[in-house]
């Protein structure tokens, strides 16, 4: 495994941040970078874990959760951002709080060139959709950025993208 040895256990810190924020629904399309957080969420009976068939479902899920008085977050890989674009109009038009945690591909030590086109436009696409960007590159900065994103989203009913860089997550090991 070539991934750097994590001195800070940032996936567990993200889970703790979600718990402190009383997030009760987590929609996700799986990504290796989110694997530990997904495991923690699935093991938590106080959180509805909702595996999605496509990321845009999670935008609508979060809107419904807020209508019903619960906070939701959406976990996805960078490739899923493109799947969300029209559905983001729901959050923007109605000012639904929406926190997306996005694990990056296609930007650092990427073996698969098919990841680059979407990965390279994640931030501009998110900015065009009125999302505040919080980008984490080092393990020790994840928790603080996540806390700020939570405040931005749920404190003021806004959209934020917590971008978890490929450098943070570590190189994917390709073996045949």
């Amino acid at each position: 495994m070539n991934a750097p040895v994590a001195t800070v256990d940032w996936p567990d810190q993200l889970y703790a941040t979600l718990k402190r924020a009383d997030v009760r629904q987590v929609g996700y399309v799986p990504d290796a970078g989110h694997a530990r957080l997904i495991d923690r969420v699935r093991a938590d009976s106080d959180i509805h874990d909702v595996v999605l068939s496509t990321e845009e479902e999670g935008i609508a899920l979060a809107a419904g959760a807020w209508l019903g008085g619960q906070r939701a977050v959406l976990l996805m890989q960078s490739s899923g951002v493109g799947n969300c674009v029209n559905m983001l109009s729901l959050a923007r038009t109605c000012r639904f709080p929406l926190l997306m945690m996005i694990t990056m591909r296609g930007e650092w030590e990427e073996f698969n060139p098919w990841q680059q086109p979407m990965g390279s436009i994640v931030e501009p696409v998110m900015k065009l959709n009125e999302a505040e960007i919080y980008r984490a590159t080092k393990p020790e900065e994840v928790e603080g950025l996540a806390e700020r994103a939570v405040q931005h989203v749920f404190g003021d009913e806004r959209i934020a993208a917590l971008i978890l860089s490929q450098q943070l997550i570590g190189k994917k090991v390709w073996t045949k």
Partner: protein
């Protein structure tokens, strides 16, 4: 339920009469989400209510808004009523709902086989070529009803009354209604999304 002119000119169910039947005596515990387009106007025509959240966009998202709401409010009955085109765009959400299985969620599709808002182009369900009931069943939603007449509609109305009483282990409800392709006059509800959101939350006792 009263059997009041629920048939359209082609013998299929009239969309306005069907919506009125579904919402009659709705009670305080029923919340309603329409898909964009005709079902949104149908819901408005059945009588405005703060516990309606009208979608004017977000095509393909109606059932998922319903899922998030159903999970957050397990004591309320959540009724999503959408069209065949909107459901086709969000067909994967039936798989997602089939996995989560909230017993208090009903997804009802008014299937006229056409895209009504854009000039009545035929949809995939036209002529029964794509069967949304079979799709729902294939997604693990065991209670998937094919409603073709007034008797079927009356049965659906009865099932909706006890949506939240079916107990754990019983999944969500899906119904496809064979709806007349006759168009009804537009009845336009509030379209400010922030107003709709806040009035909905206030109506169910949350901070707006």
């Amino acid at each position: 339920m009263t059997a009041q002119t629920t048939a359209g000119p082609d013998g299929k169910l009239d969309r306005r009469a069907a919506m009125a039947a579904l919402l009659a005596d709705r009670g305080d515990d029923l919340v309603a989400i329409p898909g964009l387009g005709s079902t949104c106007w149908d819901l408005a025509a059945a009588g405005d209510n703060d516990r309606n959240f009208y979608l004017w966009g977000a095509m393909g998202g109606a059932a998922m808004v319903g899922l998030g709401l159903a999970l957050a409010q397990p004591e309320r009955r959540v009724l999503v009523v959408t069209g065949d085109g909107e459901m086709l765009m969000g067909m994967g959400s039936l798989a997602t709902i089939g996995i989560k299985r909230p017993a208090n969620l009903a997804v009802v599709v008014f299937d006229n086989g056409h895209y009504g808002e854009t000039g009545m182009q035929p949809s995939h369900t036209n002529g029964g070529r794509v069967d949304l009931v079979a799709v729902a069943k294939g997604c693990g939603i065991e209670t998937a009803l094919d409603v073709r007449d007034e008797a079927g509609l009356a049965g659906l109305v009865e099932r909706l009354k006890t949506l939240h009483d079916r107990g754990s282990g019983v999944g969500p409800l899906f119904a496809r209604l064979a709806i007349s392709a006759a168009e009804a006059p537009r009845v336009l509800p509030e379209r400010d999304g922030v107003v709709l959101k806040n009035r909905f939350r206030a109506a169910i006792g949350l901070k707006a």
